[in-house]
Every structure is written in C-alpha cells, then in structure tokens.
C-alpha cells in the first residue's frame, strides 16, 4: 500500500449520473448506473426500438405473449407502463400451457399474478385442449425433439389465440440474446429459407404481425430490470432445455460476448442487414388453408398439424 491509496476499498462505485451507488456497469461504454438510472436507460431504449420499427400504432389491440418467465413479465410490465394511459390502445396477456410437468405450473401462476397485479386481462390456452395432448405426452421418448415441437406448436397456438381474441399485434419477449441465438442457429443449420424469412409464420398478411420490443436489450439487462422493479421471476430451467441446440449456442455466444464485448449487437446488426437484402430472393409462396385446422399455410397441412400428425403416428407405431 502506497500513501494516498485508501486503506479500505471503496464500498460502492457511484452512478455516472448521480451520487447513488451503481448496480451495474454498461460493458460497451463503461458507464455506471444506479437502479433508477439503469431503469430509465432501459425504458428509453425499449421506447426507441418500438418507435424505430413502428411496432405499435393507433387502434392496436396487442396480445402480449406471457410465459410467466422473466422476459415476458418485463415486457408486459413495460408495455403497461408505456401504454396504459392511451385510450386508443388495448393490451391483454396470452399464455400457452404446453404441458410440461414440474415446470409450467410455477410459470403459469406467476403469469396470473403479474397480469392480475397490473389489471390486465389474461387468457390461457393449452396444447392439451388444442392438440389433444400435452407436450410431455406428445414427446414420449423423443425428448431430443422437444424444443422443435414445442416451438412450432406454440407459435401456431399464439397466432390462433391472438387472432381469435381480436389482436392486431402479437408482442413477444425475445431479448437480444434470443434473437442472436436464433440467427446463429439458422446459420449453423444452413437454413437459407429461414434466413431469407420466406417462412409464412413471419410475414404473411393473414398472420397477426409479431413485434419484439426487447429485441435490442441483452437478456442480462432484462433480468436486472426485473430485479430493480421487484418483478423478477426466478424459475428453474425447462427440463427439456438441455437437449436444445440453443443451449450450446447460448454458452458459445455468452463466451464471445464476454471476451469480445459488443459481439451480440454486431451479430444482430449484420444479420438484420443480411436479411433485409436477401428477403426478396425467394418467390413468395401463395398461401392455402390447412385442411385440418384452416390456418394459412403453404402446403396441404400447416407445420403444426403435420407435426402433431407425425408424432401421433409414431406414438402408435412403437
């Protein structure tokens, strides 16, 4: 210890904008923020995304996909905060119960809790009612396919329930991390059609347009915002998560983000630029109605019905 150095380490690091103790340091800029200024910063950035991508317009009735986990809880909280004074807009929460024993019960009760405490209507739909079986039952011994099956069926059910309830927008809680992971997964799978966004689930006019207000916010900051606001939901991992390619991609990208700060933003910006250019490369397929459920699709059956069909056939066959 040399003279002039303090003998004990400073107990706190001050906020860069006020004398309060910082709770975080923004890694890209080195700026320290206290809870209040951090929350303000997040709110500003989310508002900016909403405006930049024109996510919400007058007269919208917004279905907020609410899993009950931390991201969708923060999304619902923020949309309520931004919009509850607007007479020309409506929001409601929409939860899909996939039927995952020992996991979904907690998130659903947490979804009910946050909706009730904000005074927002809450609709719950389930795989069991819609597809006749829970995800657990559909999967039997094919756990490695869990996230594919879960994702396809949930996306369709969210669309259908949003439309049935008069929604003009479907807002989801995807964070920057989620979006980057999806982009990387498309690349790792060599899925060019998906990179070019020609899948009907994204753009076709008969679908309720999806918006992702948290798409520029890192998952860690979404979680921290939830903690600051006292709405953080700490749940365990989905029991199927470890089978997912996404888990590996997530660790990999987190490693890259730590060693090369800013990687997530750079990947996302590059990917956005790429998809906006290759978007028109494939001819638009015309949409037909699924012969089983009537959902718009490009073949005879929509991907959800085709999947349920094949899972059921396999279940009977073995």
């Amino acid at each position: 210890m040399t003279p002039g150095e303090s003998s004990s380490p400073a107990d706190t690091v001050p906020c860069s904008r006020c004398p309060s103790p910082a709770i975080t340091v923004l890694r890209n800029s080195g700026i320290h923020l206290c809870g209040e200024h951090f929350a303000e910063d997040i709110e500003q950035r989310v508002r900016h995304s909403i405006n930049e991508y024109s996510m919400i317009k007058e007269g919208d009735r917004i279905a907020v996909a609410l899993s009950g986990g931390k991201d969708s809880t923060v999304l619902l909280y923020l949309l309520h905060k931004f919009l509850h004074g607007r007479k020309d807009l409506e929001i409601f929460a929409l939860t899909v119960d996939e039927g995952i024993a020992g996991y979904r019960e907690d998130t659903i009760s947490s979804a009910e809790h946050i909706s009730a405490s904000l005074g927002i209507d809450h609709i719950i739909v389930s795989f069991r009612e819609e597809y006749g079986r829970s995800l657990d039952e559909l999967l039997r011994r094919r756990e490695n396919r869990a996230c594919t099956v879960c994702g396809v069926l949930r996306r369709q059910l969210l669309q259908r329930a949003a439309r049935a309830n008069g929604a003009t927008k479907l807002a989801t809680g995807h964070s920057l991390d989620d979006e980057v992971q999806s982009a990387m997964m498309n690349i790792l799978r060599g899925d060019v059609r998906r990179i070019a966004r020609v899948l009907p689930s994204d753009d076709a006019s008969s679908f309720v347009p999806r918006v992702k207000p948290l798409r520029d916010i890192p998952e860690r900051e979404v979680a921290m915002y939830g903690m600051v606001k006292g709405i953080y939901v700490n749940i365990r991992d989905c029991p199927y998560a470890r089978f997912a390619l996404r888990s590996d991609v997530r660790s990999l990208m987190n490693e890259m983000e730590y060693r090369h700060p800013g990687t997530l933003h750079r990947v996302m910006n590059g990917y956005d630029a790429l998809t906006s250019r290759v978007g028109g490369m494939f001819p638009n397929q015309s949409l037909l109605a699924c012969r089983e459920c009537g959902e718009p699709c490009t073949g005879e059956r929509c991907s959800a019905c085709a999947l349920v069909h094949s899972m059921n056939r396999e279940n009977m066959g073995h």
Binding site: S67, S72, R220, I235, R236, A241
Partner: protein
Amino acid sequence: MKIRYAQGRTDEISIDVTTIEQVLLQLEINPVEVIVSKNGHLVPEDAMVSNDDEIRIFRIVHGG
C-alpha cells in the same frame, strides 16, 4: 468470503481484496451469465469485495 447461489447452495472461499469479476472468473462463471449482489445490494462487476463480504450469485435462467 461467503457465496450464496440463488439455487440455495453456499460456498466459502478465501480471496485477496479483488473485484466481483475476478471472483466470478475464479469460480469459472462467465460474468455475462449472472447478476451479483454484495451484502444484499446489486453491484457492478468492477465493485471491490473482501473476505468479510457475502455475495449472492443469480444465474440468469434462459427463457421467459
């Protein structure tokens, strides 16, 4: 220094005065994947910690 994980597990390690970030690296945890509180308050990764402190590590669970 006492370490609590959000899952309930606890750990005790001995450190020199250092940063939260260094403690996490010593525990082989990627700082990007966790949020840390020191003596009950959220702190940035460059906050200093000593053996008298108790830190709590919240792993960010995917999904939501």
